[in-house]
Symmetry: C2
Subunit: 214 residues, 2 copies
DNA sequence: AAATTTACTGACTCATTAGTTAGTTTAACC
DNA sequence: GGTTAAACTAACTAATGAGTCAGTAAATTT
């Protein structure tokens, strides 16, 4: 393993055996593990092994399994939050804004389907204890706002915005979280392959838009 | 605890300390446990304690944790299958048939939201290893058939039936499985309470029907 | 090059867990 | 009322898992 440090004496930016990289790798491995097993089911040993370090190394970076879980959630949803914030929907009419938001959500799930699994497990196993409410507020708040706007403008039919928002999010996530139960519906095809994903994206947007439009 | 047996000598129907009842109670407790933790996370001790017996009693009835899990799944989906089969949708036009099916699915989830959780966990944790394919075939097969029929009849728009079927099931389940993450959207209200449930049922049906109709 | 700090490990502890077994209690049948 | 079989338990085993700690190796500083 050559090349550890590129800059030599830039403050504390570079660390001896590259602790920043190790930490990131641990978070990556932990994300995968938590996305399959949830908090309780996750094995610290498995996370360590997958990272190529010993279990004790995890405790060098994170005080406990629970805090590691919090860190994983934090990183996931900071990402998602960033994507949401750069959407700039205010200047768009309601229907265009909703299409844009749907595209973003579906692409987000395609890029990292683990987010959906983690949130599902979080709800089912931990009763939402670690659920990042500010993300929920932002996501559901944005959808509800768009729906209200659309109703006022007359482009959307009269609907209950909160229930509809929940159903929209459900539509954007189910395909990904239930993947493994659904795969036999498309024998021999990869559900996260380019063509099926593309098709699913379009079908989901069409269904929702037809569902809300007047 | 008085009254154990009502009929006295009806074959082997009545058992000494009522084994049939114990078995049912064990399955009930196991269903609750598995619906929260999944197969790997479930604690046999917890299932036993909740039933009011010792752990060893479970092994008197079931050879292993895995077989207990299989038995729980079996019972859940025999129920669901029974509900599906008595629907009699063949004689109905596509749109009425879909409404009927949606009502049934939503009511099924309302009555036992654990089904959705168990299926979600099954997909995420076990990669669908124990997923009852015959149930999936029946459910998705029925929806796809109705959608095709509706397109032929011209009452439904041109859509891809499989993706749409997945989205329909997603809409019918997400509210229930993600309950605990969503509760803060309705502060002070019970998501599975009569009024919210009723409202959600109607909103979901409206969204889907508007989404598929021509 | 010696001293110090940072990154990391091996070998532990103690709690928990699936599964077992030998034995006990309760009811059923004669 | 004594025998037998079914229902159930207490007390185990063996394995695994979260978390600890003393110590080592590599890099950085002096």
């Amino acid at each position: 393993m050559p090349v550890i440090n590129k800059q030599k004496t830039t403050k504390t930016a570079t660390l001896s055996r590259n602790s920043e990289a190790t930490k990131t790798q641990l978070l990556d491995a932990a994300e995968v593990e938590f996305a399959v097993t949830g908090l309780i089911g996750a094995r610290m040993e498995a996370i360590a092994a997958h990272t190529g370090v010993t279990k004790a190394t995890i405790y060098y970076y994170f005080p406990s399994k629970e805090e590691l879980y919090r860190a994983v959630l934090g990183r996931c949803f900071t990402e998602a939050l960033g994507m949401m914030e750069q959407l700039q929907l205010d200047c768009l009419p309601a229907d265009a804004a909703l299409v844009r938001l749907l595209e973003q959500m579906l692409d987000c799930m395609s890029q990292n389907p683990r987010i959906g699994s983690i949130l599902s497990l979080e709800a089912i196993q931990n009763k939402g204890k670690y659920y990042p409410k500010h993300l929920g507020d932002l996501l559901y708040g944005t959808i509800i706002e768009i729906l209200n706007q659309g109703m006022t403008a007359g482009v959307f039919r009269e609907l209950e915005p909160r229930h509809t928002a929940v159903n929209i999010v459900g539509t954007c996530t189910f395909y990904f979280t239930a993947q493994e139960n659904l795969k036999y519906l498309w024998p021999g095809k990869r559900l996260l392959g380019k063509d099926l994903l593309q098709r699913h994206r379009q079908e989901s947007i069409d269904l929702i838009m037809a569902g809300v439009r007047n």
